[in-house]
């Protein structure tokens, strides 16, 4: 059964310090509350159910065993875990020598026609992305959707690293401003 959103939200203020202090119940509760987001994050990168599960579990296990860099000053635990899992998935993808195979499988999956996520949130995000300047949008696409590092983007676009970094940063800041404003 899924927890009602309100339960998750009201417990976050209790959960976050406890997770930082490595309390067992907090790891359990965080996993239960955020599993969907975490699997979504891993699957979006790895595109393989088994590998995505493994990635989420390995990250949770690593944080449990330590080191656990989360602390309340960092803000949302859900966001921390999501980025943590996504970054681990990206590391695995990049270590995978056989990247061409993955890119091909992505092309095949373009026929996918299932529903996804909360459609209203999708629409908000889509609007925010559409409102970005062309350079910002292209840069964030290369990073987020094509999983490229700063170095890779700089090489592919023949741009200085600093330019790529500041475009990426200004793109994310612009999204933050727009999405923050739109938040329900």
């Amino acid at each position: 059964m899924e927890w009602p959103i309100s339960t998750i939200e009201s417990s976050a203020s209790r959960l976050e310090p406890a997770f930082a202090a490595r309390e067992r119940w907090a790891f359990d509760a965080a996993y239960r509350a955020y599993a969907r987001a975490l699997y979504g994050a891993a699957l979006g990168v790895l595109r393989d159910h088994g590998r995505a599960q493994e990635c989420v579990h390995d990250v949770m296990a690593r944080l449990w065993r330590g080191p656990n860099p989360y602390r309340p000053a960092r803000g949302s635990l859900a966001a921390f875990l999501t980025v943590c899992v996504r970054n681990e998935a990206l590391s695995r993808l990049r270590r995978d020598r056989n990247r061409a195979r993955i890119d091909r499988s992505l092309a095949v999956e373009e026929r996918a026609d299932e529903a996804f996520g909360d459609p209203l949130e999708r629409e908000r995000v889509a609007r925010a992305v559409a409102a970005l300047g062309d350079e910002q949008r292209e840069t964030i696409l290369l990073a987020y959707a094509r999983h490229m590092t700063l170095d890779e983007i700089a090489r592919e676009r023949a741009l200085p690293l600093g330019t790529v970094k500041s475009r990426l940063s200004s793109a994310l800041r612009a999204l933050r401003t727009t999405l923050g404003k739109d938040q329900i």
Partner: protein
């Protein structure tokens, strides 16, 4: 809040959250966020924005039991972890769609149009579609699964899948110039929209 001082994390926090740093760069950011509240908070902001780009997986399939490190640890501590309800039969498709839709949205401007009611019980619904007609996204507040049909030709595009606050369908199909799309409950038309490009 963030501080303009070059000593604190700034652009690197965004690159970290987007997964665009190499492992050495990530380790540097982690260390800085661990040592400084201003940096931790700047990083947290970037993470919160990226987290909103990530689409959660659908909750429907049971987790294959054991075999994973995390579950083994949980079992070892006997904390009664049973996250089975959170996972995920359509997760794979949903994530594939996520990336496709994200790419589509980032590449193209899109248009949107409301459905017009044909019946008193018509739900509020909206079509969002690519300017180049390459994809269509239907969002509705309908509580039950409705069929999305393209006219002419009576072509069934799919069924709106309900989620927490609405029901939706994404299809990557070519749309004709003045594509008519209907929402139906069984064979009964509830609402219709004409997509003009």
């Amino acid at each position: 809040m963030t501080d303009a001082s070059h000593a604190h994390l700034d652009e690197d926090a965004d690159a970290y959250a987007l997964g665009a740093l190499d492992e050495a760069g990530m380790a540097r950011v982690d260390a800085q966020a661990a040592a400084c509240d201003v940096c931790a908070s700047r990083l947290g902001e970037a993470e919160a924005t990226v987290a909103r780009l990530v689409v959660p997986a659908a909750p429907s399939r049971a987790l294959p039991v054991a075999r994973t490190a995390w579950l083994a640890i949980a079992a070892a501590f006997a904390i009664g972890l049973l996250p089975s309800a959170y996972l995920l039969s359509r997760a794979h498709d949903a994530a594939a769609t996520q990336s496709v839709a994200m790419t589509a949205l980032v590449h193209s401007h899109f248009l949107h149009a409301p459905f017009v009611a044909l019946a008193p019980d018509a739900p509020h619904a909206k079509a969002i579609y690519a300017r180049d007609g390459s994809w269509l996204y239907v969002v509705s507040d309908a509580p039950s699964a409705l069929t999305v049909v393209a006219e002419p030709g009576d072509r069934v595009l799919g069924t709106l899948a309900p989620s927490a606050s609405a029901a939706s369908l994404y299809v990557a199909i070519p749309l004709v110039a003045r594509q008519v799309v209907e929402l139906r409950a069984g064979a009964r038309p509830l609402a219709r929209v004409t997509l003009i490009r």
